[in-house]
Symmetry: C2
Subunit: 148 residues, 2 copies
């Protein structure tokens, strides 16, 4: 599987070790779809009978990010969520503040505009966050109905 090789490669290039815990974390991440958080992963480790400590998980998430395997989504109120990135295009997010639903969107035009903005300012972009918050179709409908 591509992600495993990629991680092994990243580790050896940085003189880091492929431990049992790292394998367990990677497995869990690869087996989780959508957007997940630290507690979901910890619960998954327990369920699988391969516990990994909170400290170790927190120590290794940045490694998975550096290796390009996952991506971190910093949400309001210090909530962090992660999502698998291997073999995916860059995309941004629509976040429903009622039900927590996260939708994705891609826009080459936005990316082009960002590049242009950076170029004009001599700014070297290393990353960006682009989140639209609001009410998803279902929640918006529910709200309309409630108000009559």
């Amino acid at each position: 599987m591509q992600a495993i090789e990629r991680f092994a490669d990243f580790l050896s290039r940085n003189r880091l070790k492929m431990t049992r815990e790292r394998r367990v974390i990677l497995d869990q991440v690869l087996g989780t779809r959508g957007h997940f958080d630290v507690d979901q992963l910890l619960a998954g480790f327990r369920r699988a009978g391969h516990p990994v400590s909170r400290a170790t998980l927190y120590r290794n998430l940045p490694r998975l990010i550096e290796a390009g395997i996952i991506h971190k989504l910093e949400m309001a109120h210090g909530q962090a969520r992660y999502e698998l990135m291997v073999g995916r295009h860059h995309h941004d997010h629509l976040i429903c503040t009622d039900c927590g639903l996260i939708l994705e969107f891609e826009s080459h035009d936005v990316e082009r505009i960002q590049d242009e903005v950076c170029r004009r300012r001599g700014f070297v972009m290393t990353g960006h966050t682009h989140q639209i918050r609001g009410h998803c179709a279902a929640c918006a409908g529910r709200r309309r109905r409630r108000r009559g």
Copy 2:
């Protein structure tokens, strides 16, 4: 001054009181330019000889946001910064992760694209975050020089 009326109006509409502390906070906010954080405001209160407790400040910042007077910028690692919004256009940010510099940019095209994305998904936007992280011109130059 526009902001003061605006806040007084917001308070009375919501049956809230115009206290000494709220006046001090608003004064400090209006007298601070650029992007500021909670500790800067607290230091300002002390400097002005009008201390306000941390709890009270935290309780009132959301009120200033609801009143449309300031805007909250949620940055990485749970750092929050604020900026004055009265009489300003909506804008987004370029954040230098080396020196902390925050630049602003405006793009009607990005806003148009966002509206279009939302329309297509039946999503009702209530807010958004659009931050570009990287190295500002000065820091990027410094980095290039360091590498030779």
